[in-house]
Amino acid sequence: MKQKKEVLILKEYTIKNSESEKFYNIISKIVVETLLVNIQFKKVKAFIFPEHIKKLVRRSNIAFFSSISILIIQLLVIKVNLLLTIVISIITYITIVEISALSTISSILRQKSKFDEQTFLFINSLSMSMTAIQSLPFALEMINDFDVQNLKLKNFQKNLMFQLNLNESETHVLEEEKNFFEYKEYQQAFSRIARKESFIESDPYFLNKIKREMNAIEDNISIFIAFSSLLPLILSLIVSIVLSSDSFLIFLFPLLYSLIGSLILQFIQFNNFGEKNDKTEHF
């Protein structure tokens, strides 16, 4: 049985390896790493995991094949001129990549906001159990009973317990490990826990973030509504004057719409994200 399992694992490994060597994978990897990760995702670069890059590469592969198939269909079936077909296929490729980028950005931001909430709960429950038990190792053990679901936080907690078991001084460990937290207020609260100063935050950061997100959507939503209802009207008027209603070039019009829409939404989300980072630096 064990041998069979090993063979299966080997097979999976070879399949994965052979996939990564194909030429289209290399092209989409270059596109994802240069265009998306280095230029568009510059602000959230620290929160991109290899899973996200894998997902993006897979989706850009799909985009690549769909754009090539559109190019072939246009050349053989509809017979439009060459330059236009190339432009259309490039636009389809970019739009599909951008839409997938939008979904990955929203998933990254979702994970980040969840992590912020978890850190707040972690420090809160740590200081709660610290005031109750008044010994740091026992207080850290008691957190197991609370809701620490995040893997990163669990590893952080285990690391702290390991260091305390090696008989290192509490204040030293807390001072060294406080940089795990992003916000300075959390860092200060964490380093003061051994001194029995409890952590009572008036307005938690993760709530501020949700409020800011709400404000950003409120501010930009009028733009979004105008865009999503006026742009189709204007585009359809222009398209109906330029093109006959039977031509397949009309399909350019939803593509353009989705490209502009996804870019605007990314802009809104990044704008929101940038504000958060600015405000944390003032402490």
Binding site: T131, L207, I210, M214, S236, S240, I241, I250, S262
Partner: protein, 205 residues
């Protein structure tokens, strides 16, 4: 396990006020009006008050160890500790509740926007075939109105509506996106068909 009808932080605050008045823990537990009779009976039968309290199911199990250490030290320190833990629990619960409320409000607003844009885009999509007559009118001097659900124009409007809904759903972090997209496509087709029935007989090119 017994559950109290009151939240953990108010229970701790009540205990702290009774300790401040000079009672010890045992008397304080008897002084609380909503304490369950089983716990009081256990204490009357002679068991340790902390052991009796462990019958109660608290949301935060730290409370039992907090009250357990309360019988040893100075009562002033105990009262401040109990009050800070109560404050921490209160802050935590408030934060979680406020977050849920904020997310609910945000999602409701996004839902309203989604429905408005769905209806407007579907209406534009229904009117669009009238525009498409403009091209043939400019080219030939006359135009004939033909409405077809499978024409590129109406399909592209359906795509736009679906994309718009997808964007808004991805912002509001909802779960069943594909099901909601199917519903929007059905609503879109229904609105387009109803516009065709309403205006198809009236407007003729």
């Amino acid at each position: 396990m017994i559950k109290l009808n009151i939240s953990d932080d108010t229970f701790l605050n009540d205990i702290a006020t009774l300790l401040e008045e000079g009672y010890n823990i045992e008397q304080a537990i008897f002084g609380i009006p909503y304490m369950s009779r089983d716990v009081l009976l256990e204490i009357q039968l002679g068991s340790n008050p902390i052991e009796a309290l462990s019958l109660v199911e608290f949301q935060y199990p730290v409370i039992i160890s907090l009250l357990g250490s309360a019988s040893n030290a100075d009562y002033r320190e105990n009262v401040t500790r109990i009050k800070t833990v109560a404050n921490l629990i209160k802050k935590r619960n408030e934060a979680i509740k406020e977050k849920e409320n904020l997310v609910k409000i945000l999602n409701r607003r996004l839902k309203i926007i989604r429905i408005i844009t769905l209806v407007t885009i579907a209406i534009i999509g229904g009117i669009a075939p009238f525009f498409s007559g403009i091209y043939s009118f400019l080219k030939n001097g006359y135009s004939k109105y033909t409405f077809n659900l499978l024409s590129p124009m109406s399909i592209s409007f359906l795509l736009i509506n679906l994309l718009n809904n997808y964007f808004l759903l991805s912002i509001s972090k909802e779960n069943r996106i594909s099901l909601k997209l199917i519903i929007t496509s059905i609503v879109h087709v229904a609105i387009v068909l109803s516009i065709k029935i309403l205006f198809g007989g009236v407007v003729t090119f």
